[in-house]
Amino acid sequence: MVSKKKKKYSSGEGAQFMTRKAALKKLQLSLKDFRRICILKGIYPREPRNRKRAQKGAGGIKTLYHTKDIKFLLHEPIIWKLRDLKVYQQKIRRARAMREYGKMKKYFRDYPAIKIDHIIKERYPSFVDALRDLDDCLTLCFLFSTFPSIRRVPRDQSMLCRRLTVEFMHAVIVAKALRKVFISVKGYYYQAEIEGQTITWIVPHHFSFEPQTKDEVDFKIMSTFVEFYVMMLGFVNFKLFNSLNLVYPPKLTAGFSSDNDKGLVDKRAYVSERIAAMNLSVARKVGANEVEEFPEIDLFETEDQDPQKLEEAKQEAEKIKFLKTMFKGLKFFLNREVPREPLVFIIRCFGGEVSWDKDHFVGATFDETDESIAYQIVDRPSMDKQYLSRYYVQPQWVFDSVNARTLLPINKYLMGATLPPHLSPFIDKTRDQVYIPPEQRALDDPEYKPPGDDDESDEEIEEASDEDKEEQSAEESETEEQILTKQYKAEVEQDSPSEDDDDDEGDDFEKKKIAKEKKKKMAVKTGIPHKEHPYKKEIEDKQAFRLREKLVRKKHRNLYKSMKAGQEKRKKEIWLLRKKRRLHDEKTKEERKTTKRNQKMEALNASA
């Protein structure tokens, strides 16, 4: 017998995928509901390897879903909820059409809510998974927290976003988890490190809400995303507060409970309320003792123990340790014109205390007249009344200090000064193989001194003296060192007593002889220090390295080679640019000297 003919596309890629329409039919949902459930459950359209086959021979580009994904959705209990909701919505529609507004209002009041916490657990089986996906969540929540009530966005959503974002910021403040900040034209970038996960998010600048045109962004979809993210952020907050021994939910100011939102009509009042909420300290759990905040890093014996790397890691840890308490005990006062929200957040994150003018905004903790204020943050060219006991700095100082992980010298950031550029802390590691001009390097780490610096100090001397003198002074400095070393050597020689002088006395010659012989055997010879030839060692190291290179697997050999070649190339480029710069500097210096000399000559000629 002939076996039954196999139908086309019943296996392989054709069976693996499913068009959206087919999915809708299978799930018996409307497109609207399908979109919603896909976002909630984290199911996304797929891009097949062979589109023609995946679409069962149909042309064009169709939205495809994994058949397994759709089967996975089939068992979701929320689908039943959605179907019920459809009926409910029909009721509402009918009530509206029949003008039974009382009934409609009642329906709206009793609108069934969908519980999705099981989905969150399902999508993020562990807490770390949730933290990893927090970037998008935080950015969207912070964004939606600035929104007024709009069509297509549930009314209480932005309210909830506001509450949860403030709670999250509190958690970051207590955990001292903030690492990097960056002011871009788009908004404030923040990067925090929570449980070893780096989380980056953007907070929009505080402007008035910009009206969004409907056709650019699908509000309904975004609001569904936010619906899910809000839930997720809530549970993440709970867990964070729990692990930090804090009471959840924290008691914030009145503006955050939904009962009182009628009282706050003014948006500005609302904003100040929100900032005031951030300035509160959160209640700790009773009986929770302070954990040692900064545990020492443990050193593990790893296979490739690179002392340099270890040292780097240690330094990094040290820096972070300092960063966490950078502003501890310092009091900051924010002037009226300064963007308060980011500054309060940052300063409190690193242990500082913040306050502002209590006549203008609520939540001020101390007055401007307080003498213990260390820094007043000002964004205006001048002020009438200034206190001697504090520094007046511009807000960028705070951001730059955080990124530099030290309290930067304030002289560049004083009131009215033109600010140095605000550099991004989000620079990838490959940038260490890029030529950085000495000016920028000096900005990046304050310990670095550009090579031109010494010359500058010399130049001042130079102005008074001639060229030759300068050389002499250089020689002098060398000779001084030599003199010092000579002195030291002399001293050492004096200190060591000469032993040979004492050995003249003796009785018997033989005894002496024996003694001598014995002594010879016992004699302590001046040891020859084991000299390590640095050059030889280098060669040995290199050979060992080459041997190790040979052990690179064939699979990775090409990659390794290309990597090495790239490194060499970049090194060469840097070297070339450095050389160019050096030559250029020398040339300019020479030119300056000649011009100066000429000027002097001219002056002399003129006087003569």
């Binding site: 657990k121 975004m222 995303f225 709970f238």
Partner: protein
Amino acid sequence: MLLEIKKKRVSKKNKAAWRKYSDIRDVEEFLEEQRLEERLGRFDTKVDDELFVVDLKGDGVEEKPDIKPLSAKQRKRAALEETPRCFQILLPSSKVEDPNKKRNISKPVGSRPTALSKLTAKRKSEKGVLQKKIEGARKNRKIARQEKKKSKAVLKNFDKNLWGGSLPEVKGIPETLCDDFISPEAQLHNVPTTQRLRPKPPLPKTLVTRAAVETPHPGVSYNPSFQEHQELLQDVVKHEEKMMKKEAHINRVTSKLFRRVTTKSKENQWIEEMSEGLPTPHNPQIEEHSDDTDNEYRAINPPVQNKKKDHKARRRQKEMILEKERLKREKIDKKKITDIYKLRKLHTSITKEEKKLEEDRKKRESKKQEEEEKALPALNSNKPPAKEPDFVPPEDLSGDLRRLSTKTNLLRERFESLQRRGALAGSKVMMKKKRKVKSYFKAGHKVTDNEVDKYLEKIKKSKSKVSK
């Protein structure tokens, strides 16, 4: 019915027989008449006007009532007062009055207080049972409302550690089975299928590998260093150039493909095409030209003579071909010998070629891979928009937090980022279609020219009256 009476005496034994042989016609007629009267009302009670109409026009002339047709609204209003059509069937069709108007309506048991129930009610009211009941109902309603509110608020109170692990709810075990003495197997058996481990295909690669919040270019700082800002500017310029190139290409491929013609020349062309084959008007220039030729007929391709080659020519041709062939062969043979000595060179050149090809292939592959990594996911016929660098021109950069101006829309950026990561299919800007509305006059509001004239006349008349 009366049939022919043949028998003198008939049996009227039963009802049917009785009916058969008795004459009841007059009775039936009377009854019929009475029923008719009852149905239509008595004839003699009606007024003359109802019964008769005075014919003024005469026969053949149709009378047209001078009534304006009712407007749709009026018609609707009139219809409102009528009994709905669905209820008309319930109305009595005859005008016979109800013979027994006063019926004995019996109320259901319990609707009328009995003497006993009156007593108990009195006793209860004295005790205050009713009051209590009302209060209780009110309380219950309040509790129900609060419960509902609470159940809603639960969604905003995040009060459990989802990742705690110890919570039975988290594992999906029903609360009723959380006791110690129930075996874990039984507990697991009752976990809903959705919460059991179920294979779900991994997320799309684009979604996993691409960062949700990309690290910003250092040039987008509010107060960037000159160099970084210039770098960003270079990126923007590159992006813009690409766009311009694309646009130019589209222009070249579409509108530039066609020759552009001025309207005048187009007209001329049209005239020329249309007048093809028509006798041309008198044109002296053309005629002059035609004068040059004599009137003899000449073919375009004159006939060719088949001129045969002679033997000598043929032999020469053959020899030449052979000579050519010989030279060619010789050359090839010579090359063969020289190639033996060139072998090494050839080898190197071949290897060189191969190496080059291999390198090119590798380059192509790596480039392809790189592009694949960056490629925007095609989930839809709409392509997601490519990322545009957000650049602020130097004149708008104030370097000051107070006077920061930005044109980037963060929400849009988020939306597009989701699209670029493949979480959403690309979307297109949908313009709202304007509804096509057909306009017309309402029946009662139509104003014709005739009516306008009438109205004007009326005004004139009234004016003249006033003046009089």
